[in-house]
Symmetry: C2
Subunit: 145 residues, 2 copies
């Protein structure tokens, strides 16, 4: 039986399963299931950074310093590591412009844009359902054991 390249690709794709500990897709799921990844993608995807959720200005290139300011509380080490990993994974691209000092900007790739739809949904879900979750916690904690 001959197997074409396309067959092999389809076969390989069907085999990824994040439920399995050893599957590479488990590690990829672990990487993207991270609040800093979610917020970086929301930022580069142009989601409104003000209190009004939902609005989007469309994808935008951003400097490191802009990202650091928008992602309140992120350490320099964490932001640098996360951006490097996302660049290696092909989710974002890094552009160095030889100004003095050099300007480094980050931008979502097409792959990153496809992931942004999901991370945007996660941020919106958290903001939209916060009241419901707070009410659930309150009633859970008040319940007799």
């Amino acid at each position: 039986m001959t197997t074409t390249k396309a067959d092999k690709k389809a076969q390989a794709k069907a085999e990824y399963n994040a439920f399995l500990a050893v599957c590479p897709s488990r590690q990829l799921l672990d990487r993207i299931s991270n609040k800093w990844v979610v917020l970086i993608l929301c930022a580069l995807g142009g989601d409104d950074a003000s209190e009004q959720s939902g609005a989007s200005h469309g994808p935008q290139a951003m400097r490191y310093s802009e990202l650091a300011r928008l992602l309140a509380g992120v350490s320099q080490k964490m932001l640098t590591q996360t951006l490097r990993a996302l660049e290696r994974d092909g989710v974002l691209s890094r552009t160095v412009t030889p100004t003095v000092p050099v300007t480094v900007t980050y931008e979502l790739t097409d792959l990153g844009l496809s992931l942004h739809h999901l991370t945007r949904g996660l941020r919106q879900w958290a903001q939209t359902h916060m009241d419901q979750v707070l009410a659930s916690r309150e009633s859970h904690d008040a319940r007799p054991r």
Copy 2:
């Protein structure tokens, strides 16, 4: 100026912003951006656990032991803690049936079902784009510094 209860609610909702370190929605985003949360929701949402991604059998109640088996590699401590947190947040419900020994089952609430649409997308994204990410890593690592 008088403020109605509905006004206050709308105002409160509009104020949640996960970009802010002190916003409760940041902590909620952190909680849901977690591979075990994603996989628990996929399992209870009935997503196909076999290698074929995409298919879903619909939401289902599952026992602790079934979840532990499906989520390969999860420690008992991590699974227990994650399930407790999700129950407290109102994402899933826990039912104890007085059999001998007692049967404990977990099921998604309506809130959990609304989150499942997103977590399902994350797992599928990881499985569908794995080849593309692997190719990107390879070309990134081969690039001269």
